[in-house]
């Protein structure tokens, strides 16, 4: 993995990206192994080096609870930005879809590096903002569409009652 291939480090020169990647440690996950659970303390940001990570949310179905796939992360993509945003708790569950390797970048080491290299910190923060902002817009739109359905359904119900 090089800086040029990681979306988190987009816009950084190779000599700026390499020290950021050097802060991380590799974690190997076998298929199905959990990287983090919803509610866990988010102390590290991750970049997928190989394989795939499934991001899931729990949904109650009938008498049990099931993990519903929300998104998948592939090589070069970052996940776990809750590590950079208070209250630093993961809001999804992440597990390896197949044998996977991720690079774990501890928040404390990242912030220390950013303090010493503000231009790098600015670029990374801008990249994270793009990911967070895009997801917020998508989820807001999805929520609006679901709300519209609920409103339409309530309207049908009200007409049928009167």
């Amino acid at each position: 993995m090089t800086g040029a291939h990681a979306d988190l480090l987009a816009g950084l020169a190779e000599e700026e990206a390499a020290p950021v990647l050097a802060l991380g440690s590799r974690i190997a996950l076998s298929a199905g192994q959990v990287l983090f659970n919803l509610g866990d303390a988010a102390d590290s940001l991750f970049i997928v080096e190989s394989g795939r990570i499934a991001l899931t949310l729990p949904l109650r179905l009938r008498d049990g609870q099931q993990d519903v796939l929300i998104e998948e992360r592939s090589p070069g993509q970052a996940l776990g930005w809750s590590a950079l945003v208070p209250p630093h708790r993961f809001t999804l569950k992440a597990a390896a879809s197949i044998d996977t390797e991720v690079l774990a970048l501890p928040r404390a080491a990242l912030f220390e590096h950013f303090a010493a290299h503000p231009a790098v910190g600015y670029a990374v923060t801008r990249n994270v903002s793009a990911v967070v902002g895009q997801r917020l817009q998508v989820l807001q739109t999805m929520w609006l569409r679901e709300m519209q359905r609920v409103v339409e359904i309530r309207g049908v119900r009200a007409r049928s009652v009167t």
């Binding site: 949904l59 179905l61 796939l69 895009q134 998508v138 989820l139 739109t141 999805m142 569409r145 359904i153």
Partner: protein, 113 residues
């Protein structure tokens, strides 16, 4: 005369027994046909808020139209995940070109249709 009266009483008794049996049989039939329909409505309300008032789906009933379809949890999960993918794609299309029409475009998702 006594024989005639006895035959008449026996006939009336037979008719009464038949009437009681017929009434009991008719009452049982009504219970069987209405209970699954009520149960089906309750089941749909329990699974998804969007489902109860949705238009009736062919897959929700059997050929007789009285019993709810029991979708395996795995199939339901696949349907939910497909719904999420379709809605994400619709949301991304809206963000690419935001209009009222694209925001409220119809979905082909089987979860809500």
């Amino acid at each position: 005369m006594e024989m005639f009266l006895m035959a008449a009483v026996m006939s009336l008794l037979g008719v009464a027994v038949c009437a009681v049996l017929f009434a009991a049989a008719t009452r049982d039939d009504r219970g069987v046909t209405t209970q699954p329909a009520r149960q089906a409505a309750q089941d749909r309300q329990r699974f998804f808020a969007a489902a109860p008032a949705a238009p009736p789906r062919a897959e929700a009933t059997t050929k007789e139209g009285t019993e709810p379809e029991l979708v395996p949890v795995e199939a339901l999960l696949l349907r939910i995940e497909q719904h999420i993918r379709l809605e994400q794609a619709a949301a991304e299309a809206f963000l690419h070109r935001p209009t009222d029409e694209s925001l409220h475009s119809r979905t082909t998702s089987r979860l809500v249709n």
